[in-house]
Assembly symmetry: C2
Homo-oligomer: 206 residues x 2
């Protein structure tokens, strides 16, 4: 099909990347095809050549987000420690860097709520198995007493909300006086880990 000729940073891919960043950081409706094209250094009609419509472009972007999210999280989940708290910690560490570096990514996930259901479903369906696996795992560990007893489904949602919120809501961090320096980043990550660990740990440790 559209197998690349030489460079892998094909026009198509560059459009996808630019669209992800713009959609995620400023909102889908607020970003015009002209703007995406300008960002890539190309005309709007070139964008429409690769993606028949804005809708189709958005679908492709969501597909990419799903793929990246799945890769990052799945890898972290698999290669982690046996202790659930450490395993969760590994996921947070793995997610944190890309999330803060590229807030558009999670920003786009957040954007889902504002999108027509058809689009939202496209991403949700892909991520769903991952969520279900997480829930199942948490339930097992709760049963074993390794995690605080709670509704595993909602705990997944709550933990996700915490991570996403802190990674995307820059204004909130500004309001509490946080600075986006390197050490600030590390500090934030560590506090986030401690926060989640405390929220998930069983009430009476060992």
């Amino acid at each position: 099909m559209s197998s690349p000729t030489v460079r892998e940073t094909s026009t198509r891919q560059r459009i996808l990347d630019a669209a992800l960043d713009l959609f995620g950081s400023r909102g889908v409706d607020a970003v015009s095809l002209d703007e995406i094209a300008r960002e890539v250094g190309v005309r709007k009609q070139t964008v429409l050549y690769w993606f028949a419509s804005k809708d189709e472009l958005l679908d492709a972007v969501l597909e990419e987000v799903a793929a990246e999210l799945i890769v990052v999280i799945d890898a972290a989940v698999r290669s982690a420690e046996p202790d659930p708290l450490q395993r969760i910690d590994a996921v947070v560490r793995a997610v944190f860097r890309p999330a803060v570096r590229r807030p558009a990514m999670l920003g786009l996930v957040r954007e889902l709520t504002r999108l027509p259901e058809a689009h939202a479903d496209r991403l949700r369906v892909r991520v769903q198995p991952l969520v279900d696996r997480c829930v199942e795992y948490l339930e097992q560990e709760m049963d074993k007493g390794h995690l605080r007893r709670a509704d595993a489904r909602l705990v997944v949602g709550l933990a996700y909300a915490t991570v996403t919120g802190i990674a995307t809501d820059r204004e909130v961090l500004r309001a509490v006086g946080w600075q986006p320096t390197t050490s600030g980043l590390r500090h934030l990550r560590d506090e986030l880990r401690a926060f989640l660990r405390a929220a998930l740990a069983p009430p009476a440790p060992i």
Copy 2:
């Protein structure tokens, strides 16, 4: 000035309300003045009569959000128990209902990150004192050993992110199979409270 003649739901106020809901739920850029006007049952030019421009309307909306947020949170903070965990619990309970009932409210706060700084500042400046007071309070309680020792500023940010995220990210809740029924709501609220309590409680209780 624009003191209402008879009904308090003046055109101006109805425009503000509609704008808040639309801006907050769908994004500022994605909502047109025509749409707001249609929602109110009036022509676009009437909107522009009350607010000279979309920017000015947005400013007024942000001002209203700030006022409401401050009232709700401040009241909960003041009228609460002496124990910090119970006090936090009271705040969560107080914020939760309006937040879930009118997600546009917190949605608009989230929207700040996407807005020009001038607008973001307008709200942040108003909420800042409240944040500072919260931080100070948490620090005191941490010193007394009533709360888990942590960076109080970031803890405020994290707790806020959790509440806002769970209240506004409907898609996430759908993904974990949550249903917006009455009992579902209560259940969600209780899990949220337990989650935050665990995240903030000191490691060795009593």
